[in-house]
Structures are given as structure tokens and as C-alpha cells.
Symmetry: C2
Subunit: 115 residues, 2 copies
């Protein structure tokens, strides 16, 4: 696992089990057993996945008696979205037009896009 936060987030998301866990958590908090139920995998394995997600900041854990419920920490995902946003202009056509417009007015053309 890398040390920089963005790498940790991407690495955490690069596993279908962990993404499924996140999807489940959009329904609300869940215990480890509840989270493990859909998977053909031991409990410690799920526990490890949760630890990866927690270290990446994508979830946080609670403590209620012997339960340690996990909940979504969605601002971490916003961090990923913000990184992606830098590339939006390279796929989004409507963003391209806006970008061209902004570049033109920055060049001092008051009438808008040129070409």
C-alpha cells in the first residue's frame, strides 16, 4: 500500500469485494457479519478488507458492545472525484466547448470563441 492518500484510495477501490462493501454501506451501517454474508470468504478476510477501506479513509468504524459497525465516509470519495475532475475536459464535449471559450476570453478576445 502506498503512503499518499490518493493512491491508498484508488488501491482500496481496485477490488470488487471492497467496492461491493461500499455499495452495501450506502444502505447504512452494517456489522462485519452482515457485510461478510454475501461473500464466499472467511470473516478475517472481510475484516482485512475493512481495514484497507478504513486506512484509505473510505469508511469509519464504530463500537457497540461486541459489534464494530462500519459506515461510509463519503468525503473520501469526493477526493477521488476531484482528482478525476481535472480530466473531465478530455472526455466531456460540453466541457470542451466551455474550455475553448474560457481560453479565448483569457486571450483577450471579448467576443468569445474564435475558430
Amino acid at each position: 500500500m502506498q503512503t499518499d492518500p490518493l493512491s491508498a484510495k484508488f488501491a482500496a477501490l481496485a477490488d470488487p469485494t471492497r467496492r461491493a462493501i461500499l455499495a452495501r454501506l450506502t444502505q447504512g451501517e452494517a456489522s462485519v457479519n452482515e457485510l461478510a454474508e454475501p461473500f464466499d470468504m472467511s470473516l478475517p478476510a472481510v475484516s482485512k478488507h475493512l481495514k484497507v477501506l478504513e486506512k484509505a479513509g473510505l469508511i469509519s468504524r464504530g463500537k457497540e458492545a461486541q459489534w464494530r459497525p462500519a459506515r461510509l465516509e463519503p468525503m473520501a470519495l469526493k477526493g477521488v472525484a476531484d482528482w478525476l475532475e481535472h480530466y473531465r475536459r478530455y472526455w466531456d464535449a460540453s466541457f470542451d466547448r466551455l474550455d475553448a471559450y474560457l481560453k479565448n476570453i483569457q486571450k483577450g478576445d471579448p467576443s468569445g470563441p474564435r475558430n
Copy 2:
């Protein structure tokens, strides 16, 4: 490396060197040597990173004489953005009220759907 495309993309993005390569490619095509220049790392290492990015669909390679320039394949990033979009409501302020509602029904508010 996983077989499903989304995992491959996230895994490819989980490395700062590879993200730096993508950033460089927003300036336009580049040869392997050009891409390797900023990094304190051998050429084969960069070549491997490019292969990871290519298998993830994030870049494509050309062939001009002995050069194999890499270029950005931005629609692949859009795939990642689309996945993230499912979670926007969980961080975006404009969805705060919906989020509060969902949290209430999850606590067992009998007026809402049950988990």
C-alpha cells in the same frame, strides 16, 4: 491484476508514477523516453507502467518508426467517473436532505422503508 475492467482501471490509477504519466499525456502524445525523463527509474520500469495503463484502457499506443508514442484514452476515465457518480449523493451538499432522510429510515423510523 483483476480481470474486471473497473478494477483494472482503479489499480492502474493507484500508482503515483502512472498518474503522473497520465497528467503528462494531457499535454499530448509522448514517447517512452519523454515520459520516463522526470522519473528516477529505468526505462523498462516505465514501459511496464505503460503496459498497465494500456491494459486498463487508459492509454493507447502508436507506432512511428522506432517510437511507440502513448496517448490518453479519456473515455476510460469517464467509466471511472460514472462509477463514482453513484456516490455523489453521499457527499454532495445538495443531497444533504435526502441523506438525512435515508439515515432516519435506517434507524427504524416506521414511516419509511425497512432495510
